[in-house]
């Protein structure tokens, strides 16, 4: 067994976990269980990131998706439904549209995958030459930092402004006027 096989085993483990989690989101009848299996799925994705030497992304995946977004989803579920009731049955009214949309998504993903050029050099994919040099001496977090703050600073700032707009928009929407 070569090391690559071993890593492949890890990969398939995470892949199985991700698929099982994703299936659980759709198949489980209790919406809280669906959320929990979605968390499993997101964890598996964090595992992929670790396998790809992107441990920074893995940590961020867990912090943001598991720690914040999923918790907010649980909040929304528990606050919007009758909280102490167990029979939170998920609706089945949209089976056909669901199948069509997911099939379309599957086909699209398939074509995207087969038409993508994958870089074989694992360490410095898509980095400019200077960053590739620097990356010999940098760890993953630093590479992300340099990319965001130096190379891609403009898109990074634009994304920040977008998030800020969303934030302010959220505050404005949630805020009720005094005289209401």
């Amino acid at each position: 067994m070569s090391p690559a096989d071993l890593i492949a085993i890890y990969f398939y483990f995470f892949a199985a976990l991700a698929i099982l989690g994703a299936l659980g989101v759709v198949v489980l009848r209790n919406i809280f269980h669906s959320v929990l299996s979605m968390i499993v799925c997101l964890f598996a994705v964090a595992g992929f990131f670790v396998l790809l030497n992107a441990e920074f992304l893995a940590a961020v995946q867990v912090i943001i998706y598991v720690g914040a977004i999923m918790v907010l989803i649980i909040f929304a579920i528990l606050l919007s439904t009758r909280i102490m009731r167990r029979d939170i049955v998920q609706t089945n009214a949209y089976v056909l549209p669901g199948i069509i949309v997911s099939l379309a998504f599957l086909v699209t993903t398939f074509f995207v995958i087969i038409s993508t050029r994958f870089v074989e050099d694992y360490h410095v994919p898509f980095y400019p030459a200077w960053l590739a040099e620097a990356s010999e001496k940098l760890d993953n977090t630093m590479i992300v930092g340099w990319s965001l703050m130096a190379t891609y600073s403009l898109p990074f700032e634009i994304a920040s402004i977008l998030l800020l707009m969303a934030l302010i928009g959220g505050v404005v929407l949630a805020h009720r006027k005094e005289d209401d």
């Binding site: 990969f11 598991v66 720690g67 102490m84 995958i113 074989e120 694992y122 001496k137 190379t151």
Partner: protein, 490 residues
């Protein structure tokens, strides 16, 4: 490699490695496999040491809090079991182990039973990246740490956010309103206080230039972070209190309102897991404060900077227990916050102060103020002056558009996957070829033990789920338990 398991270059682990190596050679193993197994045994022993350390620490922290609290409250605290009550927690734990494992009829079995583990395991996992001591051997530091992850502090944040899911599971799974409200409070509190907490951590990371816990300690060899970043220290201390549900932020466990909070319905060892997780978190947060702001294993300058195993471990433990004492002190002194005050305090006070704190530290770093320099020879070792110059010239000479979209800059062989769906991990073979023999044995030993550990965890989870006997579902009892008319209909 700074891992504890990879320490076979000095001290007792080196001796152990040699001992095992010779033992396995005597068992007619080949040299390579003997080295691999010896390394594995070293890993196992390091793992055991850490586990024993955690258990002893947690048991001691519980007693420590009770005795110190007793001191503050003009009483003795537990002092009967063993000398000075040292075995009180052991006795309590043994008692809890024998208790019947009660599950409420209306509880959700899977969620209810997994929740204690989902809370307890992350608090143990946090020990992975905490540097507990160091020895200066052969021109470099050998750090007593399970694994010096380069995302160290981010890993801690990630781990603590996982425990939150466990709290929500406990709150929802118990089918108890106190537990549910408590879980809500807990989640809202932790999410709110994570924001100023991360901002306070950012100040430290700015100075250290790294998220690795070991690098952060090294960056404080001139002056501890508590001096230039006292505001950040206070913010982190407050957020740490909130994160561990300690007084005055113990709203989720507010006994006068919510009885016992999310663990109201738990009994026996499952309750003990919640209990131990809380105290583990107290120790972990104290250890993180020690690492981030109090110079970690380093002693005060005039007493030596912690160049020996024993002194460094002593300093680490001393500082950590001072922090634990402060936690207990606050608990003995302060009343509890109210929910809206809690939120207002986080968002209206802590966050702005933390932002200003970042601003000040950022200015200090930008203008190379001596207090905000970190220690020399740390970040510079990794990021050589050459790389900086290259990066800066590149940034100034080319437009961002070119850097972003010019595909000619992509290096290395490029190929197209033909769509047969194989996943290729050829790169790892290349990387493996480049490893030293030492690294190879470590690689294998690590993976073998990781698999064994994984199987152990899965087995435990399986046993837990299998072990649950579902009580017969009686409609009458159901409506009696759940109370409200809406529930009775269901």
């Amino acid at each position: 490699m700074k891992a504890l398991g990879a320490a076979p270059h000095n001290g007792i682990l080196d001796w152990l490695f040699n001992w095992f190596y010779n033992l396995f050679l005597n068992w007619n193993m080949s040299e390579a496999s003997a080295a691999a197994w010896a390394s594995g045994m070293n890993q196992l022993i390091a793992f055991l040491i850490i586990v024993i350390f955690i258990v002893v620490t947690v048991l001691f922290v519980v007693l420590f809090e009770r005795r110190v609290l007793g001191f503050f409250q003009i009483r003795h605290g537990p002092n009967r079991v063993g000398p000075q009550g040292l075995f009180q927690t052991v006795a309590d734990a043994l008692k809890l182990l024998q208790k019947e494992d009660i599950m409420p009829l209306a509880a959700e079995p899977i969620t209810y039973n997994i929740a204690p583990f989902a809370v307890f395991v992350p608090s143990i996992l946090a020990f992975v990246v905490i540097p507990m001591g160091a020895a200066y051997v052969g021109g470099s530091y050998n750090v007593l740490i399970v694994r010096d992850l380069n995302i160290g502090i981010l890993y801690l944040l990630a781990v603590s956010s996982v425990a939150l899911i466990g709290f929500l599971m406990a709150g929802w799974g118990s089918n108890n309103k106190y537990a549910l409200i408590s879980a809500f409070r807990n989640a809202a509190q932790i999410i709110s206080y994570e924001v100023p907490m991360i901002l306070a951590i950012l100040g430290v990371v700015l100075v250290a230039g790294s998220t690795s816990m070991v690098d952060i300690v090294h960056s404080q060899s001139v002056v501890w972070n508590i001096v230039p970043q006292f505001v950040g220290f206070l913010i982190y201390l407050i957020c740490g209190l909130a994160e561990t549900n300690r007084c005055p932020f113990d709203l989720p466990e507010a006994e006068s309102e919510l009885v016992a909070g999310f663990h109201t319905e738990y009994s026996g060892m499952k309750f003990a897991l919640f209990f131990l997780a809380e105290y583990t978190n107290v120790f972990v947060i104290s250890a993180i404060i020690t690492t981030l702001f109090l110079g970690g294993w380093k002693g005060p300058m005039f007493l030596g900077a912690g160049g020996l195993w024993l002194t460094s471990i002593f300093w680490f433990l001393a500082k950590t227990y001072i922090m634990v004492t402060i936690f207990v002190w606050l608990r003995a002194t302060l009343p509890r916050f109210r929910v809206d005050h809690l939120m207002g305090f986080a968002w209206k006070f802590l966050v702005p102060v933390a932002v200003v704190n970042i601003l000040v530290i950022g200015l200090g770093v930008a203008f190379s103020h001596p207090l905000y320099m970190g220690s020399p020879g740390n970040i510079n070792e990794r990021l050589t002056a050459d790389a900086r110059v290259v990066a800066l010239t590149q940034l100034s000479s080319s437009s961002i558009y070119n850097i972003m979209f010019d595909s000619e800059k992509v290096e290395g062989p490029v190929r197209i996957i033909e769509g047969n769906g194989t996943v290729d991990f050829g790169w790892i073979n290349t990387a493996y070829g480049a490893m030293s023999d030492d690294m190879k044995t470590f690689f294998w030993a690590y993976n073998v033990f990781a698999f064994l550990f994984l199987i152990l965890i899965l087995f435990t989870v399986w046993k837990v789920i299998r072990g649950v006997k579902r009580a017969p579902k009686l409609e009458v009892m159901w409506s009696a338990v759940s109370g409200g008319e809406a529930d009775a209909k269901a």
